[in-house]
Amino acid sequence: MSEVQELIVNMGPQHPSTHGVLRLIVHLDGEVVTRVIPDLGYLHRGLEKLAENKTYAQFLPVTDRLDYLAAISNNLAYCLAVEKLLGLDVPKRASYIRVILAELTRIVSHLVWLATHALDLGAFTPFLYCFRERELLLDIFEMYCGSRLTTTAFRIGGVPKDIDSQIKQKIEEFVKIFPSKMNEYEALLTNNKIWLERTMNVGIISAEDAINYSLSGPCVRGSGVEWDIRRAEPYCVYNELDFDIPTGRGVGDTYDRYLVRLEEMRQSNRMIKQAFEKMPEGNLMADDPRVVPPTRDNVQTRIESLIHHFHIMAEGFNPPVGEVYQAIEAPKGELGFYIISDGSPKPYRMKIRVPSFANLQAIEKMCENGMMLADVVAIIGTLDIVLGEIDR
């Protein structure tokens, strides 16, 4: 009777706690995890191959389908990369609008994370609370660009639409009530004994390991590494905004990453408030007729503008030969686009560096040291993965 048998459990790809179509092959000794082998690719759509066959403007809506919980961040990273390739200067007002929407997206993404993470660990109420606030934000996105999830909110060279007084009022209302809503979530979880038991000392990863495994975003900051691309390599107008980088309490466990994300939501809220105060008047699109199509009024009244518009839309534009890498701090970590241009209207090669891919790789490391099967669920939740961007 002393024979020890290793049990192999197949978790996913249809398991609700795997947040999409992730499959884990979990080796168990009793209830203790001895090894976790992730199996990816169930959502692979070949987006990088697709990018090589679309013009730069045509690929923009496809970026919505990477991290579909934070589509605006993907749009931002892609637009910044193409603008870097073109050497295009975006007007300041457009950059402020981008920052406001990107920070709202960060809150949306973190709300979904908190809702599902808490649900996975047995707390149902935070799910209802978080989706209540998320709904307000999705309404704002819908007012701005007409869609709620797949937004395509920006254009190469700027933003298509101003934040008018109606949208501004909605955002300001949200910014005003959100801190009190945050207190509601915290009242449910932060000092909840069950929550502490389920998250403290679960999935610990040290700062050195976190960097060695290329963790980014809240996952690396939860291990005490004060690294945020918004601060380290400021893009848009982040160098004009004041914000703190939370790093947790220095353990590197699931509870630390919970604290970091909560504080990030507060900081995002703060940044949106500042951005409205500092936002100047001005143009919304860059002044470059090679890339930016003429305005709708001109297209409808002048034949030259119509031809111009047709050329840009049908043929695309020819960026200079060269290659760029542009990274931003997406809600989940470092999101980077590496574009190689051969001077034609379509990219020669586009590699999308997604945060979830690298973050998920650390799951094997985090499941060491006698984690239980139930902790695997907590660790998947704390990594905040989205399979849409892992599989591409």
């Binding site: 060695n212 290329s214 601060r231 380290a232 890498y325 990274a327 980077g336 590496y338």
Partner: protein, 180 residues
């Protein structure tokens, strides 16, 4: 939590592009084939030296490239050697980036850098999956996104955008009729 952090003086922490190049050239005299600093700093090295140079870049205290952002492959189908393997590395402390390129031929392999950065494990599997470039001394070189028995490497330029490879693969898998 939430205390005010001092503003980081970015320019002081960063090494200039020239300083990075000089630091690398001081250690490796004739390994760097070319340098390009028009947009992002890029160095091209021989593929035989990739592991050695990566280990140096990651460990040298003044450079400190401790973070591997990305590894990707590029197929220049008209060129000899055919592929480029591109490494994007970053220093979390010093806040500088560097791109390393190494060329590899169609039936050649390149050393794995998994021993330097653990993150390279999956990145190299993805490059192998998409381009068929083999990494020597990789602990677990399997396909990552596509099924293990898939034929072809989709991001090669000669792999068509629309194919019936997927349907054929599925047909082989599906058991439609089992005689009684």
């Amino acid at each position: 939590m939430g205390s005010a952090y001092p503003t980081i003086e970015l320019e002081e922490a960063r090494m200039s592009k020239q300083e990075i190049i000089e630091a690398v050239k001081a250690k490796f005299t004739d390994v760097i084939e070319s340098v390009d600093d028009t947009k992002d700093l890029t160095i091209r090295v021989k593929k035989e030296n990739i592991l050695e140079i990566c280990r140096f870049l990651a460990c040298a205290p003044d450079l400190g490239f401790d973070y591997l952002s990305d590894i990707c492959g590029v197929d220049y189908s008209a060129r000899q050697p055919r592929f480029d393997v591109v490494y994007h590395i970053y220093s979390v402390n010093k806040k500088h980036r560097l791109r390393i390129k190494a060329a590899a031929g169609e039936n050649e392999s390149i050393d794995s850098v998994e021993s330097v950065w653990k993150a390279a494990n999956w990145y190299e599997r993805e490059v192998y999956d998409m381009f068929g470039i083999v990494f020597d001394n990789h602990p677990d070189l399997r396909r990552i996104l596509l099924p293990d028995d898939w034929k072809g490497h989709p991001l090669r330029k000669d792999y068509p955008l629309v194919t019936d490879v997927g349907e054929k693969w599925l047909e082989e898998k599906l058991v439609t009729h089992v005689p009684v």
